[in-house]
Symmetry: C2
Subunit: 247 residues, 2 copies
Amino acid sequence: MSWPPFDSPCLTPPPADSGPLGPCMHCRVRHLAVCSVLAGEEVQALDALAGAQVLAPGTVLARQGEPRRHVYTVTRGALRLVRLSAGGRRQVAGFALPGDFVGLSGAAVHQHDIEALGETELCRFGVEAMQRLGTRFPHLQRKLLERACMELDSARDQLMALARMTPTERIADFLLRLAAQQARSGEPAASLALPMPRADIADHLGLTVETVSRCLTTLRTRGLIALPEIYRVEILDFAGLEALNPA
Amino acid sequence: MSWPPFDSPCLTPPPADSGPLGPCMHCRVRHLAVCSVLAGEEVQALDALAGAQVLAPGTVLARQGEPRRHVYTVTRGALRLVRLSAGGRRQVAGFALPGDFVGLSGAAVHQHDIEALGETELCRFGVEAMQRLGTRFPHLQRKLLERACMELDSARDQLMALARMTPTERIADFLLRLAAQQARSGEPAASLALPMPRADIADHLGLTVETVSRCLTTLRTRGLIALPEIYRVEILDFAGLEALNPA
DNA sequence: CGCACGATTGATACCGATCAAACGGCGTGG
DNA sequence: CCACGCCGTTTGATCGGTATCAATCGTGCG
């Protein structure tokens, strides 16, 4: 509940190129998934609902099986959504970066653990309050539907990747996806921060850590990327990476 | 546009166990994704928008890349959503059975080919008309959001399957999923019709035809299923199949 | 009856998982 | 300040499972 007064610039329309529900840079990407589509009255209602939070690295925001009480918008840092199976198998369903909305689900309980990768800032809304708001402001509901449809498209793309791409292709696809996501936040995509360890990439792409490592070195050897630090990738040849994608 | 007058029973609430957006058996599962949630005026508006269609087996309803002009609800038969990559790789994103809503996507053009598996009956709505209706009836928009969230959950489940399950586990999971879907339509799930050829199952689960065949015989040998006909599966041991799922 | 096509069964090859080891950075403690 | 140890990453060697190639079977249709 302790957060600075809402920036008035946030009420101005977002830049034309920000796309549907894109980040609203005016308000320092604060609960950007919704702020860019609402008018004054609605923003006030949202402010009353929202709580800002800063999470230390490794903080567990939610565990699978717990009742879903909140939805979140990420404004800084990164989250990972992890599913652990009874057999000990691990799957990283996705990563939430600044601008992402977390919590679109039809289930009453969390399907994933939600964990902070680094120091992460986010904005929290109660689900039932959000639903009430949705009925009061059809505009918001519509934007949420758009967002859900986008995520659906994204999930289907990923199905294709998991089903029919080789490990190297998956890594290339993953890097390009991350670059695009980072580009949406305004930063150039050539130098790419990887907020997650190799194991998370592996569990995200259905691979092992060793294979991820090997594929990264393969891409480096081919001159497509550089690895100046462990948690950073320079994309040297976008076209070359895209050429790997058989889509 | 040629379809029988709208059954009045359709205006009554759907059976309690039909779940959100579940099939509305009263109106013979006709455009069931929406009919069960609307009142008289809205239903009339929908009728004006909807067109019933019956497709012969193999009919192509849409091709990837074409502009998306319609959404559909399946009332009989089955559709498959196919994506073909430049490299010739094939991915079946999913199957639409009676009760399913096809067309939740944020893209302006189709991401998949949509093809009828057998003789298939469906109901067509224009997307922009549907959107107008959504703004006029927030109730509808909300139901669409719920449906989108459900599909999102389902897609994420499938990601887990593709990333971390063995071929046999994927087949078992697929059969149980299909059984559950068929059960929603009211029919008992023990005897399961497979509307699609083996190749579609393979391309849906990221396998080859040969592996699908081998896994089915494996399950049969273990006494978990029977295969009385090629396009039919009897589930003999639900618990046994579920035990294969490591989730 | 013969053909065509999809499904099944069989034999082999290859790729990624697994097992194992070495490397590197970083924090701690001596 | 340096030595050590921990943990994540990288690299290496081997194994196994699934794709691939190939052949047979079965069914429906001409």
